[in-house]
């Protein structure tokens, strides 16, 4: 098919080669082609943040980028971030604080949060809320999520010997 393109990329640390339709977005590619169903399509126009993954280190809406654009890229999804242990403390804090209910938004929320704490190690509650403003959660009302992130920020700062 002339509208398909060959790409090679790294997904969760593993090399992947595929022949993808030019119009296939990343969230469909991850889910349909690679079986990485932890990334979810919520609104498919970049508003809800459920499909947020990491592309070359940056939190990215997987519904707003085509797989065909990602030749040579490094993509990390909730599956990879879980297996590497990188966000284990965030997951533990979300669990302890019940910062998720239905769990549909959670993968996107965690990817966004990981980026926040990389860029702002000790964010205020207002900064946390601001950074999460592109991630829709219908269940929690956000308060518990903000609490969980605040806890992890504090733990990480303490582990580093304070801010």
């Amino acid at each position: 098919m002339s509208d398909a393109i060959d790409i090679r990329l790294t997904v969760n640390g593993e090399p992947v080669a595929r022949h993808v339709p030019a119009r296939q977005n990343l969230v469909d590619f991850l889910r349909e082609e690679l079986g990485l169903t932890g990334t979810r399509a919520g609104c498919e126009h970049g508003v809800c943040g459920a499909c947020t993954v990491r592309v070359d280190g940056a939190a990215t809406r997987a519904c707003l980028i085509f797989a065909a654009q990602l030749d040579g890229a490094r993509v990390d999804t909730i599956e990879g971030l879980s297996e590497s242990g990188e966000i284990a403390d965030l997951q533990a804090a979300f669990h302890a604080r019940n910062a998720l209910q239905c769990g549909f938004c959670t993968a996107g929320m965690l990817v966004t949060t990981a980026e926040l704490l990389r860029d702002i190690p000790a964010p205020s509650r207002a900064e946390i809320r601001d950074h999460l403003s592109g991630n829709y959660c219908r269940c929690t009302g956000y308060h518990a999520i903000v609490d969980a992130i605040e806890t992890v920020a504090r733990q990480r700062c303490a582990a580093k010997g304070g801010t």
Binding site: L100, Q101, C102, F104, L110, Y136, R138
Partner: protein
């Protein structure tokens, strides 16, 4: 503070009242959940729907020839192709006298009655192929006049949307109790307002999803459904498709939010079942976000005129209301679309002593998507109308709004109480909740801060709202009216040979924490550790029969079933342990996975040794002992139709009078849901519910033009609450257990949504008070606030 007597729940190592995190949240945190769209089956095909672009149109013809010939397309069907393969459904309940509706079909028959109604279905090997092909279906439409406005549809001579029904009045009901006219005549002040509450919708993070898998070889239909009520859905399928009871299984695995949206029968989902039966292969449908906005049920849409009479001394003398609600072209099946309005007029004023009450409800058909039950059905409207009138009454007689509430809330020692609309209230704590709230929020201090800031041109407002919540409904809610909706739930507990417990229960989980709460109860009563309890829900083949999770009933009803099942299993285990140990069972107990001597606490044998003896070593048991290591119990509330809860919310806001923007500074909730099984989960139910209410009060609106066209059907245009705009929410509890169950738990899922809009609307109006401006329309958008301030 707990008033209930010591019971099984107070055993050593009890998990009741402990903030245990949800074991089943781990898979969701690791991207390992299983939502319907994650399920892939061999020969799976994907359904998409052609939906009416008009609010009202005749379908002259549908030509699918070109679409059907495209590579990858499996089948295109219209109403004609499905005729005779199902029976239509009608959304009425016999106990709602006079409620009428027309038969509904999976695909529109000859005429579409709302923009978004499914008209044709196309099945293809992939969703993308299906969507491409859909564009090749040609429909010849004749657009018909649409009647979208609930007021005009009831005008004399308005064309009937369902001609066979004669007119557009689906349901009407009146209440007139006490001496209302007399009370208004002798009042020192009468306040009157007109309230408008827009349509909004659920916006579930996971859109509606269904995978129907019919295997023609053995005539088994398995339906994977994003739903709250698998047993109900099975009954619905049996009623409307030619299948036998043993041949249908409904499975609900992870559900990405529901809030009442996923408890109704949707035409497109019924079409998917019909398609799987027709094709004999698995068919999946996942609504996209745009079609969710025009095909999920909408909520609310009320216009209410309301008056309150009050005496100089601050006694509420009478309330009179007139509610008009628009429900779309059909009453939704099987819960109907009349319960929302019915609950509005049932609930208004029901937390005050006022005995004079008049209400009229009219429920109107219109050419918009169907409206039906959504989280806190009717409650936020009843609460906002009542509490906004209370604030105005307080102003009218120059009394502080907290004081007016104090003088009129039903006294905590006055129960049982029956409201003017006939609601029977078992035992509530409005007065104590109000006092606790005023202390928690430092009401007096906030009033001082407000006055000081006002002098500096900063306009902040304080809003209070008392409320009740209907929870744990009994069979008189739906079952009595003929709906296949169970008010009872069952729990089966099995001791496994390794000493762990499998708990299968008919209530369901959509993230509330149902599974954790019932596991905590069973573990506490049995004396086993929580990590040894495995919970199974959401499968008609693997759980006892029951209603599912809705109307804040999961813990109150399912939890009681778990408690009773655990007592029964405990007795069975101790009987076997007694046989093994040659001890009287009554002298034994189970604690921390050990059989112990009850009096001394001495450990006798491990629980798993009882399991192993029972299952593998019958040879060691006395000949008359037949081990029975499974127990099942069911529960349904009978004494009261509902277990009411109560509480009060408060909101602290700042209004920018130049832009109309509202900043939510803080929100408080004091709530009484009886026994709190898991404080962590209860508080998060309240917070999440509050934010859904805040969305309704400030942002959410399905905007329609006069032709019934949705103007904001995307998440970019329809505003939902996001983290940046939401406040921190302080939650506190009083505990008044219901005495109708041993557990004493009432529900909590809807309390937040019930009271939040009233609190924030009162806070906004409190901020606007110096300007003589007032807003009574929800959502209170900046534009509407500026209009109220006469600044546009």
């Amino acid at each position: 503070m707990t008033e209930r007597p010591l019971s099984f729940l107070d055993r050593p190592n009890s998990y009741i009242g402990r903030s245990v995190p949800r074991p089943n949240a781990q898979r969701l945190l690791h991207g390992r959940g299983t939502f319907v769209d994650d399920i892939r089956l061999p020969r799976l095909v994907h359904a998409v729907f052609l939906r009416s672009p008009y609010a009202h149109a005749r379908i002259i013809s549908i030509d699918a020839t070109a679409a059907a010939q495209l590579p990858g397309v499996v089948r295109v069907v219209t109403a004609k192709d499905l005729a005779g393969r199902y029976t239509p459904w009608v959304g009425v309940l016999t106990h709602m006298k006079g409620l009428k509706s027309a038969p509904q079909h999976p695909l529109a028959v000859e005429r579409a009655c709302w923009q978004g109604e499914p008209v044709a279905a196309l099945v293809a090997e992939s969703r993308a192929v299906a969507e491409d092909a859909l564009a090749h279906i040609v429909v010849d439409w004749e657009e018909l006049p649409a009647v979208a406005d609930a007021e005009t549809v009831l005008a004399p001579g308005a064309p009937a949307i369902q001609p066979a029904l004669g007119d557009n009045l689906a349901f009407a009901r009146s209440i007139d109790v006490g001496a209302v006219d007399d009370a208004f005549a002798r009042a020192d002040a009468v306040v009157e307002d007109h309230f408008t509450v827009a349509r909004h919708t659920g916006v579930c993070p996971e859109t509606r999803s269904i995978l129907a898998d019919f295997n023609p070889a053995d005539r088994q239909l398995t339906v994977h459904h994003s739903s709250q009520a698998p047993h109900m859905m099975k009954e619905i399928i049996l009623r409307h498709f030619p299948l036998a009871e043993p041949d249908v299984r409904v499975i609900c695995r992870d559900v990405g939010g529901s809030y009442g949206i996923k408890i109704h029968v949707y035409p497109d989902e019924m079409a998917v079942i019909a398609l799987s039966l027709l094709l004999g292969r698995p068919v999946k449908f996942v609504a996209d976000r745009l079609e969710s906005f025009v095909s999920d049920i909408h909520a609310r849409e009320h216009r209410i005129g309301a008056r309150m009479a009050v005496s100089k001394s601050g006694e509420i003398l009478a309330i009179a209301v007139d509610d008009l609600t628009g429900i779309g072209p059909y009453s939704t099946y099987p819960r109907t679309s009349a319960v929302e309005g019915n609950q509005v007029i049932n609930l208004i004023g029901s937390w005050y002593r006022c005995a004079n009450y008049r209400a009229r409800l009219r429920v109107a058909f219109q050419n918009k998507p169907p409206m039906s039950q959504y989280r806190a059905v009717g409650h936020p409207i009843a609460c906002a109308v009542t509490e906004m009138l209370v604030d105005r009454a307080a102003q009218a007689i120059g009394l502080d709004p907290a004081e007016l509430r104090r003088r009129n809330l039903i006294a905590d020692d006055a129960y049982p109480w029956t409201s003017p609309a006939g609601l029977r209230l078992e035992r509530l704590s409005h007065q104590r909740c109000l006092e606790r709230m005023l202390e928690l929020m430092d009401y007096a201090g906030l009033r001082r801060e407000q006055a000081a800031l006002r002098a500096k041109g900063v306009h902040r407002g304080i809003g209070l709202a008392s409320f009740v919540e209907i929870t744990n409904p009994g069979p008189a809610f739906y079952g009595v009216g003929g709906a296949p909706i169970s008010a009872q739930d069952g729990c089966t507990l099995r001791l496994d040979p390794g000493g762990s417990v499998t708990l299968a229960i008919s209530v369901t989980e959509q993230g509330q924490g149902t599974e954790t709460a019932v596991a905590q109860i069973a573990a506490s009563v049995l004396g086993v550790s929580l990590e040894r309890v495995r919970v199974v829900t959401g499968d008609t083949e693997r759980t006892p029969y029951g209603g599912g999770t809705w109307a804040s009933r999961g813990t109150g009803i399912g939890g009681e079933a778990a408690l009773q099942a655990a007592k029964a299993l405990r007795a069975n285990v101790l009987a076997l342990a007694g046989a093994i140990l040659q001890a009287v069972p009554d002298t034994l107990d189970i604690r921390a996975d050990w059989i112990i001597d009850a009096a001394s606490g001495a450990q006798r044998i491990r629980l798993h040794e009882v399991g192993r003896a029972g299952y593998f070593r019958g040879d060691t048991l006395p000949p008359d002992v037949q081990p029975e290591l499974v127990a099942t119990r069911h529960y349904q509330p009978r004494e009261y139709p509902f277990a009411f809860t109560n509480g009060v919310q408060a909101s602290w806001v700042e209004v920018d009078v130049d832009t109309g923007f509202v900043t939510l500074l803080k929100h408080w909730v004091v709530e009484d849901c009886g026994t709190v099984v898991n404080p962590l989960l209860v508080d998060e139910q309240i917070r999440g519910g509050v934010v859904q209410g805040l969305g309704a009060a400030l942002f959410e609106e399905c905007s329609y033009d006069a032709q019934g066209q949705l103007l904001n059907g995307t998440l970019a245009d329809y505003l939902v609450p996001m983290a940046g705009e939401m406040p921190d929410i302080v939650v506190a509890h009083l505990v008044t257990p219901t005495t109708t169950s041993e557990l004493g738990a009432k529900g909590v899922g809807e309390a937040g949504t019930a009271g939040a809009p009233a609190a924030v609307m009162n806070a906004i109006n409190d901020a606007l008070l110096p300007f003589g401006a007032r807003i009574t329309t929800q959502p209170a958008t900046p534009q509407r606030i500026l209009r109220a301030l006469k600044r546009t």
